[in-house]
Structures are given as C-alpha cells and as structure tokens.
C-alpha cells in the first residue's frame, strides 16, 4: 500500500492495513540493527526533531538510534533546554521548530492531546511518543510487532493487561491496537486503577488477577508509579505486590508459552518478581529491540521514505 498518513497521533486513527504495513516495514528493517555497520542511507538529508517535554530515556534513545540508523539527522530538545522555560508557548516553540524545516517532529508531552494541538498548527509530520495518559502509539505498535513475531498472528489471541490501567497510555493504545487486530483483551487491577467506561474500548474487566490471566497467550504488566500512592490508589507496594504482582505461581495460570511483557522501566519486586522478569517466556528486552525497528519504520514512512524508495 502507499502511505498517505501525515501524523501518528494515536492507534485509533490507524486502519488495520496501516498497522500491518507499519509492522511489515518494521520486520524488514529489523535486520539493519544486526549488521556490523548499522546504517543505511534511506533518510540521508532528513531532519528529525525529538521534542521531549517529559522525561524519557528509553523512548527518546530508541527514536534517536532509529533516526541515525536511517542516516537522518536527529536533534533532541527537552522542556528544560527549550524556550518553554522562558515562557514561550508550546505553539510558538513548535512554529519555531517548523521554521527550521524538519521532516518529522517526535513529541512527548505530559498533557493529553498535545500532539493534536500541534498537528493543527504545524504542517510537519508528528509522531506522538506519549501524551499524558492518552496514547503511546509507538509502544503499542512495537508490542504488536513483538507478539506477532512470537505468535505469528494477532487474530484470536488472548491478551491480559494488568496493573494501573487508569493512568496508562500504554494500556489505552494497546487495548485499541490489539482489539483492532482481532485479539481479545482482558484488564485487571484494583478498582481504583480501572477507569470508568474502559470496557467500551472492547476489553473485559476484572479485579481478580488470576481470572484475568487464566489461559491467556500474553501477559502485559504495567508499571506502578510510586507517586500514585499519594492519591490513595493503593495502600502500599507490599500489598500491591501480594495482590497484583506477577510471580511464578501466577504465571502458571496462563498458557505455558504465554509471553511476559512490560513497557518498562521495571519495578522489580513490585508489579513483577525478578524471576518472572527474567523468565524464558519474558520478551521484555525483545520489546526494546523491536522498538528501534518499529520507529525506523515510522520515520521511514513519514519522512518520505516511500517516495525515496520508489526513486531507487
């Protein structure tokens, strides 16, 4: 298919064909990272701005490496180094960035919806690298890529997502993505962490961890953010680990070959025990590896890589 979409703002707006196209492209690009010289000239002369308004190590590094392996020039700016600290509005900052003619802006922001705001104001393609509690489309795509790699087919799979659903953009994007691809999604967590109306995205909800992972093909564990304790969401990490932590006894409930996933960073001993994190079925590090390929695919598709490829 030809790629016509300007921005990657969320999973909801992507069609099934577009998702497949991204995953196929990523599969093809993965091999580049295994070469001894990990660089192709595909995006030579293109500029990618990594505009990160919220702290991030993994995602930013992943985009940075992805851009460089395609020979694009990538530049990072963060809230603390941009003019935002001098009182410039977000839109002004974005317009200034646009005036320097970048080919893609990758954006991370703590406020939900911010990539939408920017996409209305600037014509540069935007990739949402996480906006508040709303969406994290590249994480969902790399998760789908990782599952597809191991299970061949997403359709008909049963996925459990456990933990703090309410505050998780990863959960939201994955629910939408896996449902779109024909998988079944079950959610579990304490009721304080299950947001109102989440079932309407097509997921089943339970407060019982064991029930949620019973017979599933994939267990996706979400990170518990310690600062949430202040909002009375759970009494203590100790009790959370006991009731909702993924441990060796619990994974027996799932299929024997069930994949264990986590978007990182891990709180070992809280939402996941160390032995489960390092389990043979754990694909947590494969997720990170695939993240680079997936982001290469998106940069390639959005920065005019398709057109370049046709020129060859």
């Amino acid at each position: 298919m030809t790629w016509n979409r300007k921005d990657i703002l969320d999973i909801e707006s992507l069609t099934v064909d577009e998702i497949k196209s991204v995953l196929d492209t990523a599969d093809g690009l993965k091999e580049i990272s295994q070469r001894s010289i990990k660089k192709v000239p595909t995006l030579r002369g293109k500029t990618v701005i990594l505009f990160f308004h919220e702290p991030s190590t993994r995602t930013r590094l992943s985009f940075d490496i992805a851009a460089k392996r395609l020979s694009a020039d990538s530049i990072s700016i963060s809230a603390s180094t941009s003019s935002l600290v001098k009182g410039e509005t977000l839109i002004d900052t974005a317009r200034n960035l646009e005036s320097m003619n970048p080919d893609v802006v990758v954006m991370r922001h703590s406020s939900a919806g911010t990539p939408y705001l920017l996409s209305q104001k600037i014509s540069t393609p935007i990739i949402n690298a996480g906006d508040g509690m709303h969406a994290h489309p590249t994480q969902a795509l790399l998760d789908m890529m990782t599952v597809r790699e191991h299970k061949k087919e997403l359709h008909g799979l049963r996925i459990a997502i456990v933990g703090d659903i309410a505050h998780s953009r990863v959960a939201r994007s994955n629910i939408v993505g896996f449902r779109k691809m024909g998988a079944k999604v079950r959610l579990a967590g304490p009721p304080t962490m299950i947001p109102k109306g989440i079932e309407s995205l097509g997921a089943d909800v339970t407060y019982d961890f064991e029930e949620a992972i019973d017979g599933v093909d994939v267990i996706m564990v979400l990170r518990i953010q310690k600062e949430r304790q202040r909002n009375y969401l759970f009494p203590s990490e100790r009790e959370y680990a006991i009731r909702y932590g993924l441990n060796m006894a619990r994974i027996k409930k799932a299929k024997p070959d069930a994949l264990i996933m986590h978007p990182g960073p891990l709180n070992r001993g809280v939402e996941i025990t160390p032995d489960v994190a390092d389990h043979i079925n754990s694909v947590i590090l494969n997720q990170v590896t695939n993240g680079v390929a997936l982001r290469m695919a998106l940069l390639y598709l959005l920065a005019g890589g398709v057109r370049n490829a046709a020129d060859h």
Binding site: T89, L90, I91, H109, S111, A112, G113, T114, Y116, L117, D131, G132, M133, H134, A135, R169, R172, P195, K196, G197, I198, S200, L201
Partner: protein, 427 residues
Amino acid sequence: MRLIIKGGHVLDPGNIDVVTDIKIDDGIITDLKKFESDLPDNDTQVTRIIDAGGCFVVPGLIDMHVHLRDPGQEYKESIETGIHAAAAGGFTAVCCMPNTNPVNDNRQVTEYIIKTAGQFHSVKVYPVASISRGLKGLELSEYGELKEAGAVAVSDDGLPVSDSQLMRRSLEYAKGVGLKVISHCEDPNLSAGAMNEGLMATRMGLAGIPNASESIMVMRDIALCELTGTPVHIAHVSTKESVHAIRDAKSRGVPVTAETAPHYFTLTDEAVRKYNTNAKMNPPLRSIVDRDEIRKGLADGTIDVIATDHAPHSVLEKEVEFDRAANGIIGLETSLSLGLKLVEEGVITFETLICKMSKNPSKIIGLSRDISVGAPADLTIINPTMSHTYDVEKGFSKSKNSPFNGWEFKGMAVYAIVNGRVVFESK
C-alpha cells in the same frame, strides 16, 4: 423623551399577555394600550417609534452570572465590551462576579464597577461581592459596606467555600445585611481533573471530575440553608444528582434556588472531543443523562434561572495544552438563542423561558421586573423566528471562546431597552 413600541406581543408572565402598544416617557412606562391610529401624529413629543409587529416584548432579560474581568484582566473583557455583548444578547442587566483583580471584596471595587458601567448608559450592572476576603475562604468580607456600595449578592464563584463553618456564618450574616448568597458547589479534593469523569475522559486520557464533586456540596449547602433558614442560590448546576437534591429540598420547603447555564442543557462531554478547549469549563460538560435531567429540572421548576457564567478568556489561556487551558466560555450573545432552541424543542414554554431569564433572577437578587404603568422601561424585544448564524468573530465580547461558533439559530433579540433607551438593535 418619548418612545412608542407598537404592535408587539407584550408578555410579562403572570401579569400581561396581549398584543398592545407601550408608551414610555423619560424611561418610565406611562401607557399600555393600543393607540387608535398608526402613529399618534399630533404627538410632537414622540422621539422614536419601534415597530414590534411579530415580536415579543418581554421584561428585560437579566444574566445573574457573568465575569466582566474588569478590573484586572481587561485584555479578556472590559465592563464596556461586556455590557455591549450583554445588550447584543438581549440583556438589560447583568450581575458580575467578584473574581477580578483586585477581588471585589471592598467598597472601592464595587463602586468602580458601578461608576464605570454607569458611564455607558446601557445595560445595568449589579456587582456580586465576595463571600470571603480575597476569595481565600478564611474570613468574611465586609458585607455591610459592600451592600451600601451597591453589591446585590455575595459569592466566591470560581472557588468553593470549603469551610462549612464559614459558609454557615456567611448565610447567617448575609441575612442580616440583606445580601443574597450564591454558592459555587465543588469539592476540590474530588474535582482534580480536566473534564467530566466518564467514557470520554477515559478515552482521551484526561483526569475526570465526578458528578459527586458538585452534588456533595449542593447537599451540604442545602443542609446549611435548612440550619440557618437563609436562602441560598446554587450557581451553574451541571449534574443530575444536584437536580435531584434541589428538587427534594424544594419539596420540603427549603428556600434554595438554582441556576444552570445554556451549555449544560445543550452540550455534553462529547463536545470536548479533539481536545476542544472551548468546551472546557468548571463544572465540566456532563453526560447526556445529566443534560436531560437539567432540562427536566428547568421544566418542572427545580432550576429557577438560566444564567450564562459568561467567562471570557483569550487565546493565551485557550490555545494551550488541554489540561492547562483555563475553564469557561463566553455566553452572553448565545444564551437567548439557546433558550429559544429549548422552547422550539418543546422542553419549556416561551413564558417559562422568560421567567428563567428575567422574572426569577430579578426576584432572587431583590429587583422587580414588571411591564406595568409606572415601572422602569427595561424591555427586551424578541423576534422568535428570525434565523441567524452565530459568528463569534463578529461578536461584541473581546474574547472568542465559544463552542457555539457557526451554529444556526432561530430567534433572537432585536432590541434591548434600558430605562427607555435603546441600547441594542439588530441591524
């Protein structure tokens, strides 16, 4: 100065309902009868004749809940532009909330507002002073002096009075002074969010504000109203639970009154889709169930008043990240049209609409608003069929933060008359 309004359907609910002419001399209604000829030709005193054929002539509309932003935030609105926006919406009077800078908690600010508004000989402006000094919720403002200066009510609007003891004392003390207390009902510990709690908030990844954050305080204020025997007026009701609580209180004879805003009976949280900051306000737009209960409350008399909560904000506050955007929308120039839409949809009668937008709010703040000989000529002339498209860029308000831009309406105010002076006429 003599003004004649000819051939209008004069409707003053509970008082007059007839097609007749009105004679106004020096701002006072002096005659209410059909004149024999088309024009009293021989009457040399007539300075103006308005043909109101096909229109309703009603007691001047009053919006008892607006933010004029003056003093302090004149880049959003000034008393002058706010007055013109009000007049264009058919209003002849407004009550302005005290969250200005400085706060209207003293004689100087109250007098400044009244004096400034008076210069324009237009829409009447009745200041609402603050319940607590500086809106801080710690001590009472000086109600006696504020009343003397011209305040008609007190409210900490924009902020709740969290301390129940302070709220109790405010009600008690205000009773002695003769000021109405208007309550902004919100439990801030429950309301830390950016939009209504529910499906839309979950999908959009925004922290939600549950209905209970409002109704919990509505119930508290009803309890304090019963305790003190002092009337309380509940501002901007948005939830079905609040409507239930007020309906129940009224049935027990508790002297509580309530208002809602046009957006709460028109829109739902669906309007926030695509992170539209012009649909962000506090309380937030709620679900369809709430919207329908608000309509029911308007129809059965639970909700007495339609007030806009006109809240001008510039692009500086609105063209930003959704959770950082300011709360509120402008409403003066769309309120009547949205009310007429309710009439069109059969939710309330036209007569009821006039009660909610004129008779009831006047009564609540202690003003009279009658069309009778000897009364001041504060009148609104409404053409109920004239269709128009609302273009916010052509509006009179300095700010443009309306979710109704581009809406098509049937019915609008064609004249606003204050003390016998035409302060607005539609071109």
